[in-house]
């Protein structure tokens, strides 16, 4: 049963809907939807994905069952491999994983909403969605296809995904499950999953001349033929196939190859039948002694037998079989001529070839691994240099000292991602898949700049205090968000502290009040050149006033008074004109040797300690 439907921005349509006539319609609708896609709070998007994740983790989930039933017929993957792939999909969608990824690539969730304040840089940084993202993937690994879509969604774009001809099913099932957990349509209604035959000029000429970002995963040749056809307004994110390899330092394999390394390597070779760009083609053993490589191939053979039972290969096509046959026959002749060794079962479950020639070799995949020996790092780098432009992942098993030198060398060479053996084909949670930080490319970084003098910062702070009902009203009464209005705001004492916060802040447990500094944050600091209790005011962080203890008028000269603090950053629990209960007075320091040029005050103790008797202090 092959799928015959597609989704186009909230509508379920027949799979052949897209044609020359409807391509413009698709694009126009995508522009409209891109505005809606940018609106929701990132939290809401993550919440929906978290529910999708939970659903797909359940083996009984109906759409998962459907995928397990259909996908082995469409792909060369066994049912077991499909199950593992679906677990990966579930794990990618979890809130924890997506949050980690967003933090690592975008820096914060806030950047995707209102923007992330960068007070010390005088701007607010915003990750602006690019608008419409068109994903074209020719790859066989269905997880990567939906991962590309997910990346587009969590960066709040409207996405058009072109399904690969071989698997026109999984993306549809995946969007269907998003629909299930997104009754308001904040995500799924802004996505289109379509199908057309690659090379269909009538459709592609329309889409390739739209205003969009094109994420392309495919061969160099396809990419080269595509490029000249792209319109001026297309931003291309190109991902051509790359080659990955593993490196094991000989001494890590002595006296015996560690079980976790051998198993890890077997899994990296077997997952996705080696068809991911992060799957190793070659494993290099760094050792003077060739025996170590022989030990590895023997240990790996046993483990591959085991993993092949857990994750069977699935069906091989005629052509794939021919490719494996070629590798085996050449290896057999090498073995005869003492130039290598072939270790494999009779069936084409997997093929291990130890070649004495260390030159990098591209595998025909489908669990065909070359094992090669090099004597040192320099030798290895020399072997990898010819393909340095096409390297992706390096899986390492080396001693710590070695790893440090090695990382440097490999990145210099062009490697995009270094990980441990066993982690090559399975990204760590939240890490960019395949070593590519795609989220950063799916947004445009924009900034709202502002002046940094204290008056401007106070005015901006007031504008941001809408979430506190207490201040909202006070600001209105004071006449707006200007600095002059600020000076009309009442002082804040400890008793009214709780009233100022927005309701959600009260849910946060344990807010100690015992220390003034905890309430307000930093108020003053002492450098090595100022005596006694004199403090410099960190003006980028807070605004300090000294007021008369009698009539609360603002003191400009050196008369002692109560120190009043406004924190320029706190928004959730604003600290506006907070009476610290500390006594202080302004001190004029012409030029502090530390270089500070702002205001300084002398801390005189607590207000309660002051006895005022006429003019005697």
């Amino acid at each position: 049963m092959i799928n015959n439907k597609i989704f186009v921005f909230g509508q379920e349509l027949a799979s052949d809907w897209l044609c020359a006539e409807t391509a413009n319609e698709l694009l126009d609708e995508a522009y409209e939807k891109s505005k809606l896609a940018a609106e929701p709070d990132i939290e809401c998007i993550l919440e929906i994905f978290d529910n999708v994740s939970k659903a797909w983790s359940d083996p009984e989930y109906k759409l998962r069952k459907k995928a397990v039933e259909i996908l082995p017929q469409l792909t060369s993957f066994s049912a077991e491999m499909i199950e593992e792939g679906l677990n990966v999909v579930s794990s990618i969608c979890s809130r924890k994983s997506l949050e980690k990824r967003l933090y690592s690539e975008i820096g914060s969730l806030e950047a995707l909403n209102e923007g992330e304040e960068r007070p010390h840089n005088n701007y607010r940084l915003k990750a602006q969605p690019r608008g419409v993202v068109l994903h074209i993937s020719t790859g066989n690994v269905f997880v990567d296809t939906v991962d590309s879509l997910i990346s587009g969604i969590i960066t709040k774009n409207a996405n058009i995904l072109k399904m690969s001809g071989t698997n026109p099913v999984f993306p549809v099932l995946f969007l269907e499950s998003i629909k299930e957990f997104d009754p308001a349509g904040i995500i799924w209604a802004n996505q289109a999953i379509v199908a057309w035959n690659g090379g269909n000029r009538a459709i592609e000429d329309v889409l390739f001349n739209g205003k969009l970002t094109l994420v392309f995963w495919g061969e160099r040749k396809a990419l080269d033929s595509l490029k000249p056809r792209l319109g001026r307004q297309v931003k291309l994110i190109e991902n051509e196939p790359r080659y990955s390899f593993a490196v094991i330092e000989g001494k890590c394999l002595k006296p015996n190859a560690p079980e976790n390394v051998v198993r890890g390597l077997a899994l990296d070779v077997c997952r996705w039948n080696q068809q991911a760009c992060s799957s190793p083609h070659v494993v290099y053993v760094i050792d003077k002694d060739l025996k170590t490589s022989h030990q590895l191939i023997e240990a790996l053979f046993d483990e591959m037998i085991q993993v092949s039972e857990e994750l069977p290969h699935g069906n091989l096509s005629f052509d794939e079989k021919v490719e494996i046959r070629k590798v085996r026959e050449i290896a057999r002749m090498m073995q005869v001529r003492s130039e290598g060794r072939l270790v494999c079962p009779e069936e084409f479950d997997f093929t291990l070839v130890l070649e004495y020639d260390p030159a990098f070799k591209i595998s025909c995949l489908n669990r065909t691994l070359f094992i090669k020996r090099v004597t040192n790092i320099e030798d290895l780098i020399e072997q990898l240099s010819p393909i340095s432009d096409y390297l992706q992942t390096a899986g390492l098993c080396c001693s710590t000292d070695f790893t440090n030198i090695f990382e440097h060398e490999l990145f210099n060479l062009g490697v995009k991602r270094i990980t441990d053996i066993g982690g090559m084909t399975e990204s760590h949670e939240g890490a960019p898949r395949e070593g590519y930080f795609i989220l950063r490319d799916l947004v445009e970084w924009v900034a709202v700049e502002y002046k940094n003098d204290y008056q401007s910062r106070i005015e901006r702070l007031l504008k941001n205090l809408c979430s506190s009902p207490y201040y909202c009203q006070l600001i209105e009464e004071a006449g707006g968000c200007s600095y002059n209005s600020f000076l009309k705001l009442p002082f804040l004492d400890k008793d009214s502290f709780y009233r100022i916060s927005p309701p959600e802040a009260n849910n946060i447990p344990s807010r100690p009040m015992a220390d003034t500094c905890i309430d307000t944050g930093l108020v003053g600091w002492q450098c090595a050149h100022i005596p006694g209790t004199i403090h410099h005011v960190p003006e980028e962080y807070c605004y300090v006033e000294i007021i008369s203890t009698k009539d609360q008028s603002i003191i400009e000269d050196d008369t002692p008074g109560e120190i009043v603090v406004t924190n320029l950053d706190h928004k959730l629990q604003p600290i506006i004109r907070y009476r610290t209960g500390d006594l202080g007075r302004w001190v004029e320091i012409e030029k502090c040797p530390c270089g500070f040029t702002g205001k300084s005050f002398e801390l005189l103790g607590r207000c309660d300690d002051l006895i005022v008797e006429r003019t005697i202090k």
Partner: protein, 375 residues
Amino acid sequence: MAEGKPFIKCGQLFDHTDAFEYTPETEQLFVDAMNEALRWHANHCPDYKAFLAENGLADLKQKYSPEQIPPLLVSIFKEFKLASVPDKQVKIELTSSETGGRKSAIILDARSYKRILKIVENIFGSLGLVDHKQKVNYLCFTYDPKYAVNVGTAFSYKLLTDLTAHRSVYYAIRFDKKTGEFNFDAEAAAKKLIDFSTHPEPVRILGFPAYLWQVCDWLEKNNMDLKLGKKSFIITGGGWKIHKDLEVTKDIFKDRVNKILGIPHENVRDLFGMVEHGIPYVDCECGRLHVPIYARAMCVDPETLFQVEDGEEGLLYLMTPYISSYPSISLLTTDKAVIEDNCPCGRPGKTFRIIGRAGMAKHKGCAINALELLK
């Protein structure tokens, strides 16, 4: 052409001039000849002997059926130089015309060279394509052998021009002395053909079909239909390769050349061969590639190497005992094919149809390189 020890049976087999004389005697001769060749190569090529042992064939005194001899994959000859004769006995060394990577080097000793000349003569003769008294004008869509001395395709077509007497031979892939490159000029080839049509001698056109297609394009554009006649032949080879977009079925091809060149359908023949194997498989009048008695063809599953049923697609596996200079007597090709029998032409034996090149990687053989010259 009787041969002495150790090739008595080989000699007897090649002495059968009817290439399709399938009798119990010729079948037995083929088996015996294969065993002679097996022992020869095992004794003269240490790598081959080790390969046989690796595949469980160590006892060379025993007699084997040809199918029991483990095949060498054709790619092996691109990776390794295997020889069963010393260098001084090499009469001719043929390479595939590919430019990059390792060259496929095939060596022929005097014995193999002599045999292949005879085999070619026998096969084409049995198909009615040999007439040494008839002078013919040749148009060859192949490299000029004067300049492409060791290129396998040029060698093959040189053999084909010797099937008749010639009035003239024109090689359409010309060597440009200034640039040192080979170039194909469709217009010059078309004009040559027009010139041929004004002479009484028949014409034979040999080589890659895509080139002839281009020549037909030129003639059609210039509203020229030629009448080359019933005695003229077209023998195509090498396939369409990178010009898959131009590829048409044999019937369409025959219709077009019949219309534009005036050559009858049954005189358009395709040829399949490979430098590592040497035997030419040639279309009969009915358009089927016939297996001669000097060879055996079957199709196998690429994983198990078990023979598939006739009519089913498999990897083409070819056997012949004639080559004594390198051990390719049992060869696993990378071509997908179907074996058939009962050809309507009435000739006994099997025929096969090539489905295409098998495998995922891009192969760059002679045919592709020559086709890249197409403008």
